[in-house]
Protein backbone atom coordinates (compact mmCIF):
# COMPACT_ATOMS: atom_id res chain seq x y z
CA UNK A 1 0.00 0.00 0.00
CA UNK A 2 1.29 3.46 -0.78
CA UNK A 3 2.29 5.61 2.19
CA UNK A 4 -0.39 8.16 1.27
CA UNK A 5 -3.13 5.56 1.56
CA UNK A 6 -1.68 4.17 4.79
CA UNK A 7 -1.50 7.57 6.48
CA UNK A 8 -4.87 8.63 5.07
CA UNK A 9 -6.52 5.54 6.54
CA UNK A 10 -4.92 6.10 9.92
CA UNK A 11 -6.00 9.74 9.99
CA UNK A 12 -9.55 9.00 8.99
CA UNK A 13 -9.83 6.29 11.64
CA UNK A 14 -8.49 8.64 14.27
CA UNK A 15 -11.35 11.06 13.53
CA UNK A 16 -13.84 8.39 14.48
CA UNK A 17 -11.80 6.93 17.36
CA UNK A 18 -13.49 9.42 19.68
CA UNK A 19 -17.09 10.69 19.73
CA UNK A 20 -15.89 14.15 18.66
CA UNK A 21 -16.35 13.40 14.95
CA UNK A 22 -19.96 12.33 15.48
CA UNK A 23 -20.78 15.31 17.65
CA UNK A 24 -19.25 17.47 15.00
CA UNK A 25 -21.24 15.97 12.16
CA UNK A 26 -24.45 16.41 14.11
CA UNK A 27 -23.73 20.05 14.94
CA UNK A 28 -22.74 20.74 11.33
CA UNK A 29 -25.97 19.27 9.96
CA UNK A 30 -28.06 20.95 12.64
CA UNK A 31 -26.65 24.39 11.90
CA UNK A 32 -26.80 24.04 8.16
CA UNK A 33 -30.46 23.04 8.24
CA UNK A 34 -31.28 25.66 10.83
CA UNK A 35 -29.73 28.37 8.66
CA UNK A 36 -31.35 27.11 5.50
CA UNK A 37 -34.87 26.86 6.91
CA UNK A 38 -34.95 29.55 9.61
CA UNK A 39 -32.82 32.27 8.04
CA UNK A 40 -32.77 31.22 4.40
CA UNK A 41 -36.53 30.55 4.51
CA UNK A 42 -36.24 28.04 1.69
CA UNK A 43 -39.58 26.57 2.65
CA UNK A 44 -41.52 29.85 2.74
CA UNK A 45 -39.84 31.34 -0.33
CA UNK A 46 -41.84 29.05 -2.56
CA UNK A 47 -38.89 28.69 -4.93
CA UNK A 48 -37.69 25.22 -5.71
CA UNK A 49 -33.98 25.86 -5.48
CA UNK A 50 -31.27 25.50 -2.84
CA UNK A 51 -29.16 28.63 -3.26
CA UNK A 52 -30.36 29.87 0.15
CA UNK A 53 -28.91 26.67 1.60
CA UNK A 54 -25.57 26.93 -0.19
CA UNK A 55 -25.15 30.64 0.62
CA UNK A 56 -24.40 29.66 4.22
CA UNK A 57 -21.62 27.20 3.36
CA UNK A 58 -18.80 29.77 3.17
CA UNK A 59 -19.83 31.04 6.62
CA UNK A 60 -20.33 27.74 8.34
CA UNK A 61 -17.05 26.43 6.92
CA UNK A 62 -15.28 29.30 8.71
CA UNK A 63 -15.88 27.48 11.97
CA UNK A 64 -16.23 23.92 10.82
CA UNK A 65 -13.18 23.49 8.55
CA UNK A 66 -10.51 25.08 10.78
CA UNK A 67 -11.75 22.77 13.54
CA UNK A 68 -11.01 19.80 11.29
CA UNK A 69 -7.65 21.02 10.02
CA UNK A 70 -6.24 22.47 13.26
CA UNK A 71 -5.08 19.06 14.41
CA UNK A 72 -3.29 18.07 11.17
CA UNK A 73 0.20 19.10 12.28
CA UNK A 74 -0.21 20.97 15.55
CA UNK A 75 -1.28 17.81 17.35
CA UNK A 76 1.54 15.75 15.82
CA UNK A 77 4.07 18.31 16.96
CA UNK A 78 2.54 18.67 20.39
CA UNK A 79 2.50 14.93 21.11
CA UNK A 80 5.88 14.36 19.45
CA UNK A 81 4.44 11.78 17.04
CA UNK A 82 5.64 13.95 14.15
CA UNK A 83 9.14 12.63 14.86
CA UNK A 84 7.89 9.07 14.52
CA UNK A 85 5.99 9.82 11.32
CA UNK A 86 8.73 11.74 9.55
CA UNK A 87 11.44 9.18 10.31
CA UNK A 88 9.43 6.49 8.53
CA UNK A 89 10.19 6.03 4.83
CA UNK A 90 7.66 8.65 3.71
CA UNK A 91 8.19 12.04 2.14
CA UNK A 92 6.89 15.25 3.72
CA UNK A 93 4.72 15.83 0.68
CA UNK A 94 3.08 12.39 1.01
CA UNK A 95 2.25 13.11 4.64
CA UNK A 96 0.84 16.57 3.83
CA UNK A 97 -1.35 15.17 1.03
CA UNK A 98 -2.53 12.22 3.11
CA UNK A 99 -3.66 14.41 6.00
CA UNK A 100 -5.35 16.83 3.66
CA UNK A 101 -7.19 14.05 1.80
CA UNK A 102 -8.36 12.48 5.07
CA UNK A 103 -9.81 15.83 6.13
CA UNK A 104 -11.40 16.31 2.72
CA UNK A 105 -13.05 12.89 2.86
CA UNK A 106 -14.39 13.71 6.32
CA UNK A 107 -15.90 16.96 4.97
CA UNK A 108 -17.29 15.05 1.98
CA UNK A 109 -19.07 12.74 4.41
CA UNK A 110 -20.53 15.73 6.24
CA UNK A 111 -21.63 17.28 2.96
CA UNK A 112 -23.11 14.03 1.70
CA UNK A 113 -25.18 13.76 4.87
CA UNK A 114 -27.08 16.92 3.88
CA UNK A 115 -28.83 14.85 1.16
CA UNK A 116 -32.28 15.02 2.82
CA UNK A 117 -32.54 18.68 1.89
CA UNK A 118 -31.98 17.76 -1.76
CA UNK A 119 -34.68 15.10 -1.55
CA UNK A 120 -37.01 17.54 0.20
CA UNK A 121 -36.68 20.21 -2.46
CA UNK A 122 -37.31 17.61 -5.17
CA UNK A 123 -40.40 16.47 -3.28
CA UNK A 124 -41.70 20.03 -2.99
CA UNK A 125 -41.06 21.09 -6.56
CA UNK A 126 -38.88 20.47 -9.56
CA UNK A 127 -35.55 22.23 -9.01
CA UNK A 128 -32.67 22.43 -11.46
CA UNK A 129 -30.75 19.41 -10.21
CA UNK A 130 -27.79 20.27 -12.43
CA UNK A 131 -27.32 23.52 -10.53
CA UNK A 132 -27.67 21.77 -7.21
CA UNK A 133 -25.09 19.17 -8.21
CA UNK A 134 -22.72 21.92 -9.37
CA UNK A 135 -23.27 23.76 -6.09
CA UNK A 136 -22.38 20.64 -4.11
CA UNK A 137 -19.26 20.25 -6.22
CA UNK A 138 -18.40 23.92 -5.70
CA UNK A 139 -18.94 23.62 -1.97
CA UNK A 140 -16.67 20.56 -1.90
CA UNK A 141 -13.91 22.42 -3.75
CA UNK A 142 -14.30 25.42 -1.49
CA UNK A 143 -13.95 23.12 1.53
CA UNK A 144 -10.72 21.82 0.02
CA UNK A 145 -9.32 25.33 -0.23
CA UNK A 146 -10.27 26.06 3.40
CA UNK A 147 -8.64 22.79 4.49
CA UNK A 148 -5.41 23.61 2.67
CA UNK A 149 -5.30 27.00 4.42
CA UNK A 150 -5.95 25.19 7.71
CA UNK A 151 -3.17 22.69 6.95
CA UNK A 152 -0.72 25.55 6.48
CA UNK A 153 -1.74 27.24 9.75
CA UNK A 154 -1.52 23.94 11.58
CA UNK A 155 2.01 23.43 10.27
CA UNK A 156 2.98 26.85 11.64
CA UNK A 157 2.24 26.17 15.29
CA UNK A 158 2.08 23.47 17.91
CA UNK A 159 -1.08 24.98 19.36
CA UNK A 160 -4.35 23.80 17.87
CA UNK A 161 -6.13 26.88 19.23
CA UNK A 162 -3.76 29.23 17.42
CA UNK A 163 -4.06 27.13 14.24
CA UNK A 164 -7.85 27.42 14.49
CA UNK A 165 -7.84 31.19 14.98
CA UNK A 166 -5.34 31.85 12.18
CA UNK A 167 -7.24 29.65 9.72
CA UNK A 168 -10.50 31.33 10.67
CA UNK A 169 -9.02 34.79 10.16
CA UNK A 170 -7.46 34.07 6.78
CA UNK A 171 -10.58 32.33 5.47
CA UNK A 172 -12.75 35.13 6.85
CA UNK A 173 -10.69 37.76 5.05
CA UNK A 174 -10.85 35.78 1.82
CA UNK A 175 -14.62 35.47 2.09
CA UNK A 176 -15.15 39.12 3.01
CA UNK A 177 -12.89 40.32 0.19
CA UNK A 178 -15.64 39.85 -2.36
CA UNK A 179 -18.53 41.10 -0.31
CA UNK A 180 -20.32 44.12 -1.83
CA UNK A 181 -20.03 45.95 1.49
CA UNK A 182 -16.26 45.62 1.51
CA UNK A 183 -15.88 46.08 -2.23
CA UNK A 184 -17.85 49.33 -2.21
CA UNK A 185 -15.76 50.66 0.61
CA UNK A 186 -12.50 49.71 -1.11
CA UNK A 187 -13.71 51.20 -4.40
CA UNK A 188 -13.93 54.60 -2.69
CA UNK A 189 -10.21 54.94 -2.21
CA UNK A 190 -8.27 52.17 -3.94
CA UNK A 191 -6.95 51.91 -7.48
CA UNK A 192 -9.20 49.97 -9.84
CA UNK A 193 -6.65 47.16 -10.31
CA UNK A 194 -6.59 46.62 -6.55
CA UNK A 195 -10.38 46.44 -6.45
CA UNK A 196 -10.38 43.92 -9.29
CA UNK A 197 -7.58 41.92 -7.72
CA UNK A 198 -9.34 41.78 -4.39
CA UNK A 199 -12.56 40.72 -6.04
CA UNK A 200 -10.75 38.01 -7.98
CA UNK A 201 -9.22 36.67 -4.77
CA UNK A 202 -12.52 36.39 -3.00
CA UNK A 203 -13.86 33.00 -2.01
CA UNK A 204 -17.35 34.42 -1.85
CA UNK A 205 -17.65 35.75 -5.38
CA UNK A 206 -16.26 32.54 -6.90
CA UNK A 207 -18.63 30.41 -4.89
CA UNK A 208 -21.53 32.73 -5.68
CA UNK A 209 -20.93 32.19 -9.42
CA UNK A 210 -21.13 28.45 -8.93
CA UNK A 211 -24.35 28.43 -6.90
CA UNK A 212 -26.00 30.69 -9.46
CA UNK A 213 -25.65 27.73 -11.77
CA UNK A 214 -22.65 28.93 -13.72
CA UNK A 215 -20.01 26.23 -13.28
CA UNK A 216 -17.14 28.11 -14.86
CA UNK A 217 -13.78 26.37 -15.08
CA UNK A 218 -12.14 29.54 -13.79
CA UNK A 219 -13.99 29.35 -10.48
CA UNK A 220 -13.04 25.71 -10.01
CA UNK A 221 -9.47 26.52 -11.00
CA UNK A 222 -9.43 29.30 -8.41
CA UNK A 223 -10.22 26.89 -5.58
CA UNK A 224 -7.78 24.29 -6.96
CA UNK A 225 -4.94 26.83 -7.16
CA UNK A 226 -5.71 28.26 -3.73
CA UNK A 227 -5.63 24.73 -2.29
CA UNK A 228 -2.46 23.71 -4.12
CA UNK A 229 -0.68 26.88 -3.03
CA UNK A 230 -1.39 26.37 0.66
CA UNK A 231 -0.56 22.64 0.55
CA UNK A 232 2.81 23.43 -1.01
CA UNK A 233 3.28 26.12 1.61
CA UNK A 234 2.46 23.56 4.35
CA UNK A 235 5.21 21.27 3.12
CA UNK A 236 7.61 24.20 2.82
CA UNK A 237 6.91 25.31 6.39
CA UNK A 238 7.38 21.79 7.76
CA UNK A 239 10.62 21.46 5.83
CA UNK A 240 11.85 24.83 7.08
CA UNK A 241 11.10 23.80 10.67
CA UNK A 242 13.42 20.81 10.25
CA UNK A 243 16.32 23.20 9.76
CA UNK A 244 15.38 25.84 12.31
Amino acid sequence: MSPVRTILRRELRSYFATPIAYVFLIIFLLFLNLFAFQIGRIYESGQSELSAFFTFHPWLYLIFIPAVSMRFWAEERNSGSIELLLTQPVTLWQAVIAKFLAGWIFVAIALALTFPIWITINYLGSPDNGTIFASYLGSFFMAGAYLAIGSFMSALTRSQVIAFILSFLVCFLLVMAGFPLVMDWVRDWAWPWLVDGLGALSIYSHFENIIKGVLDLRDVLYFALLGAFFLLASAAVLDARKSS
Partner: protein, 236 residues
Protein backbone atom coordinates in the same frame (compact mmCIF):
# COMPACT_ATOMS: atom_id res chain seq x y z
CA UNK B 1 26.60 1.01 9.23
CA UNK B 2 26.34 4.62 10.35
CA UNK B 3 28.73 7.35 9.36
CA UNK B 4 28.62 10.98 10.41
CA UNK B 5 30.95 13.71 9.22
CA UNK B 6 31.43 16.92 11.21
CA UNK B 7 27.72 16.90 12.04
CA UNK B 8 26.80 20.33 13.40
CA UNK B 9 23.59 21.88 14.63
CA UNK B 10 23.34 25.53 15.45
CA UNK B 11 20.05 26.65 16.98
CA UNK B 12 20.23 30.37 16.21
CA UNK B 13 23.43 30.94 18.12
CA UNK B 14 23.24 27.93 20.42
CA UNK B 15 25.70 25.30 19.23
CA UNK B 16 23.90 22.10 20.22
CA UNK B 17 26.12 19.73 18.23
CA UNK B 18 29.60 20.84 17.27
CA UNK B 19 31.27 18.87 14.48
CA UNK B 20 30.65 15.29 15.54
CA UNK B 21 32.28 12.60 13.36
CA UNK B 22 32.15 8.89 14.03
CA UNK B 23 31.26 5.66 12.32
CA UNK B 24 29.67 2.52 13.66
CA UNK B 25 30.14 -0.90 12.04
CA UNK B 26 27.77 -3.88 11.97
CA UNK B 27 28.08 -5.92 15.14
CA UNK B 28 28.86 -2.87 17.23
CA UNK B 29 26.58 -1.54 19.94
CA UNK B 30 27.57 2.03 20.53
CA UNK B 31 26.54 3.68 23.79
CA UNK B 32 25.95 7.39 23.45
CA UNK B 33 26.58 8.99 26.82
CA UNK B 34 26.52 12.51 28.06
CA UNK B 35 24.88 14.85 30.52
CA UNK B 36 21.40 16.18 29.75
CA UNK B 37 21.54 18.78 27.01
CA UNK B 38 24.87 17.53 25.68
CA UNK B 39 23.47 17.02 22.20
CA UNK B 40 22.71 13.28 22.22
CA UNK B 41 19.13 13.53 20.99
CA UNK B 42 19.93 16.27 18.49
CA UNK B 43 22.67 14.11 16.97
CA UNK B 44 20.35 11.11 16.74
CA UNK B 45 17.59 13.22 15.21
CA UNK B 46 19.95 14.46 12.53
CA UNK B 47 21.07 10.92 11.67
CA UNK B 48 17.44 9.77 11.55
CA UNK B 49 16.53 12.65 9.24
CA UNK B 50 14.08 14.39 11.54
CA UNK B 51 16.10 17.58 11.70
CA UNK B 52 18.47 18.99 9.10
CA UNK B 53 22.06 19.64 10.22
CA UNK B 54 23.43 23.15 9.92
CA UNK B 55 26.49 21.55 8.33
CA UNK B 56 28.06 18.14 7.98
CA UNK B 57 26.43 14.92 6.86
CA UNK B 58 25.21 11.54 8.04
CA UNK B 59 24.62 8.31 6.18
CA UNK B 60 22.96 5.01 6.93
CA UNK B 61 24.23 1.92 5.06
CA UNK B 62 25.89 4.23 2.56
CA UNK B 63 22.74 6.26 1.89
CA UNK B 64 23.16 9.92 2.70
CA UNK B 65 20.19 11.06 4.79
CA UNK B 66 19.90 14.34 2.86
CA UNK B 67 20.44 12.96 -0.65
CA UNK B 68 18.59 9.63 -0.34
CA UNK B 69 16.28 10.05 2.64
CA UNK B 70 13.89 7.21 1.75
CA UNK B 71 16.66 4.62 1.23
CA UNK B 72 18.34 5.72 4.46
CA UNK B 73 15.11 5.69 6.47
CA UNK B 74 14.15 2.27 5.09
CA UNK B 75 17.34 0.77 6.50
CA UNK B 76 16.81 2.40 9.89
CA UNK B 77 14.77 1.54 12.96
CA UNK B 78 14.41 4.57 15.18
CA UNK B 79 13.04 5.04 18.68
CA UNK B 80 12.60 8.78 19.29
CA UNK B 81 13.15 10.21 22.75
CA UNK B 82 10.08 9.59 24.92
CA UNK B 83 8.77 6.91 22.51
CA UNK B 84 6.02 9.06 20.97
CA UNK B 85 3.12 7.35 19.21
CA UNK B 86 -0.55 7.86 18.45
CA UNK B 87 -2.39 7.67 21.77
CA UNK B 88 -5.84 6.94 20.41
CA UNK B 89 -4.68 3.89 18.44
CA UNK B 90 -4.64 0.38 19.81
CA UNK B 91 -1.25 -1.30 20.10
CA UNK B 92 -2.22 -3.79 17.39
CA UNK B 93 -3.54 -1.05 15.09
CA UNK B 94 -0.41 1.00 15.61
CA UNK B 95 1.93 -1.89 14.78
CA UNK B 96 -0.17 -2.65 11.69
CA UNK B 97 0.17 0.98 10.64
CA UNK B 98 3.96 0.86 10.99
CA UNK B 99 4.11 -2.50 9.17
CA UNK B 100 2.17 -0.87 6.31
CA UNK B 101 4.54 2.10 6.19
CA UNK B 102 7.46 -0.33 6.22
CA UNK B 103 5.86 -2.23 3.30
CA UNK B 104 5.80 -5.52 5.19
CA UNK B 105 3.51 -8.03 3.53
CA UNK B 106 2.50 -11.68 3.52
CA UNK B 107 4.24 -14.27 5.64
CA UNK B 108 7.14 -11.98 6.57
CA UNK B 109 4.74 -9.40 7.96
CA UNK B 110 2.93 -12.01 10.04
CA UNK B 111 6.17 -13.50 11.37
CA UNK B 112 7.64 -10.12 12.24
CA UNK B 113 4.49 -8.87 13.98
CA UNK B 114 4.28 -12.09 15.98
CA UNK B 115 7.95 -11.87 16.83
CA UNK B 116 7.86 -8.30 18.20
CA UNK B 117 4.60 -8.91 20.03
CA UNK B 118 6.00 -11.99 21.74
CA UNK B 119 9.50 -10.61 22.32
CA UNK B 120 8.27 -7.39 23.93
CA UNK B 121 5.37 -9.14 25.69
CA UNK B 122 2.67 -7.01 24.15
CA UNK B 123 -0.02 -9.72 23.74
CA UNK B 124 -2.06 -8.66 26.78
CA UNK B 125 -2.40 -5.05 25.54
CA UNK B 126 -2.83 -5.53 21.78
CA UNK B 127 -6.45 -4.32 21.88
CA UNK B 128 -5.79 -1.51 24.35
CA UNK B 129 -5.36 2.09 23.23
CA UNK B 130 -1.81 3.35 23.69
CA UNK B 131 -2.74 6.37 25.83
CA UNK B 132 -4.08 4.05 28.55
CA UNK B 133 -0.80 2.12 28.86
CA UNK B 134 1.84 2.42 31.54
CA UNK B 135 5.15 4.09 30.72
CA UNK B 136 6.88 0.72 30.46
CA UNK B 137 4.39 -0.61 27.93
CA UNK B 138 4.56 2.58 25.88
CA UNK B 139 8.32 2.28 25.69
CA UNK B 140 8.05 -1.33 24.57
CA UNK B 141 5.50 -0.37 21.89
CA UNK B 142 8.06 2.17 20.69
CA UNK B 143 10.75 -0.52 20.62
CA UNK B 144 8.46 -2.91 18.76
CA UNK B 145 7.83 -0.21 16.18
CA UNK B 146 11.59 0.34 15.76
CA UNK B 147 12.50 -3.30 15.13
CA UNK B 148 9.39 -4.65 13.35
CA UNK B 149 10.94 -4.39 9.89
CA UNK B 150 14.19 -6.05 11.02
CA UNK B 151 16.33 -3.00 10.12
CA UNK B 152 20.08 -3.20 9.56
CA UNK B 153 20.61 -0.09 11.67
CA UNK B 154 18.97 0.78 14.97
CA UNK B 155 19.04 4.11 16.75
CA UNK B 156 17.37 4.00 20.15
CA UNK B 157 17.07 7.16 22.21
CA UNK B 158 16.91 6.06 25.86
CA UNK B 159 15.35 2.64 25.19
CA UNK B 160 15.12 1.61 28.83
CA UNK B 161 13.86 4.88 30.30
CA UNK B 162 10.77 4.25 32.40
CA UNK B 163 11.20 0.49 32.59
CA UNK B 164 11.41 -1.46 35.82
CA UNK B 165 14.58 -3.50 36.54
CA UNK B 166 13.13 -6.71 35.10
CA UNK B 167 12.01 -4.98 31.91
CA UNK B 168 15.35 -3.19 31.63
CA UNK B 169 17.08 -6.53 31.77
CA UNK B 170 14.78 -7.93 29.08
CA UNK B 171 15.34 -5.02 26.73
CA UNK B 172 19.10 -5.27 27.18
CA UNK B 173 18.93 -8.98 26.43
CA UNK B 174 16.91 -8.21 23.32
CA UNK B 175 19.46 -5.67 22.14
CA UNK B 176 22.34 -8.09 22.71
CA UNK B 177 20.41 -10.83 20.93
CA UNK B 178 19.78 -8.84 17.76
CA UNK B 179 23.15 -7.06 17.83
CA UNK B 180 25.16 -9.70 15.98
CA UNK B 181 24.63 -8.46 12.42
CA UNK B 182 23.24 -5.02 13.16
CA UNK B 183 24.60 -1.56 13.73
CA UNK B 184 23.12 -0.18 16.94
CA UNK B 185 23.37 3.16 18.69
CA UNK B 186 21.68 3.65 22.04
CA UNK B 187 21.71 6.78 24.12
CA UNK B 188 21.50 6.49 27.84
CA UNK B 189 22.49 8.19 31.03
CA UNK B 190 22.51 4.93 32.94
CA UNK B 191 26.16 3.96 33.08
CA UNK B 192 25.56 0.33 34.02
CA UNK B 193 23.82 -0.05 30.67
CA UNK B 194 27.11 0.56 28.90
CA UNK B 195 28.66 -2.41 30.70
CA UNK B 196 25.61 -4.54 30.05
CA UNK B 197 25.16 -4.09 26.30
CA UNK B 198 27.68 -1.78 24.65
CA UNK B 199 30.81 -2.80 22.81
CA UNK B 200 31.90 0.81 22.57
CA UNK B 201 30.94 4.11 24.13
CA UNK B 202 31.15 7.72 23.12
CA UNK B 203 30.82 10.44 25.71
CA UNK B 204 29.70 13.80 24.43
CA UNK B 205 29.60 17.06 26.31
CA UNK B 206 28.61 20.50 25.05
CA UNK B 207 28.12 19.09 21.56
CA UNK B 208 31.60 17.57 21.21
CA UNK B 209 32.97 14.04 21.51
CA UNK B 210 35.15 13.96 24.62
CA UNK B 211 35.83 10.21 24.78
CA UNK B 212 35.45 7.28 22.38
CA UNK B 213 36.56 3.83 23.53
CA UNK B 214 35.48 0.38 24.66
CA UNK B 215 33.87 0.31 28.11
CA UNK B 216 37.04 -1.26 29.50
CA UNK B 217 39.19 1.36 27.82
CA UNK B 218 37.07 4.16 29.24
CA UNK B 219 37.29 2.76 32.76
CA UNK B 220 41.06 2.71 32.62
CA UNK B 221 40.98 6.49 32.22
CA UNK B 222 40.11 6.90 35.89
CA UNK B 223 42.39 5.71 38.67
CA UNK B 224 39.40 4.14 40.40
CA UNK B 225 38.48 2.17 37.28
CA UNK B 226 34.84 3.24 37.67
CA UNK B 227 32.81 4.47 34.74
CA UNK B 228 30.98 7.17 36.66
CA UNK B 229 34.28 8.70 37.77
CA UNK B 230 35.38 8.82 34.14
CA UNK B 231 32.06 10.31 33.17
CA UNK B 232 32.31 13.02 35.80
CA UNK B 233 35.87 13.90 34.80
CA UNK B 234 35.45 14.10 31.03
CA UNK B 235 31.93 15.51 30.93
CA UNK B 236 32.54 18.23 33.48
Amino acid sequence: MIKTQTLTKNYSGLLAVDGISFSVEPGEVLGFLGPNGAGKSTTMRMIAGFITPTSGSASICGHDIAAEPLAAKSALGYLPEGAPSYGEMTVGGFLDFIADLRSLAGAVRKTRLEYVTARLELEPVLEQSIETLSKGFKRRVGLAQAIVHDPKVLILDEPTDGLDPVQKHQVRALISEIARDKTIVISTHILEEVDAVCTRAIIIARGKIVADDTPAGLKSLAPSGRLDDVFRTVAA
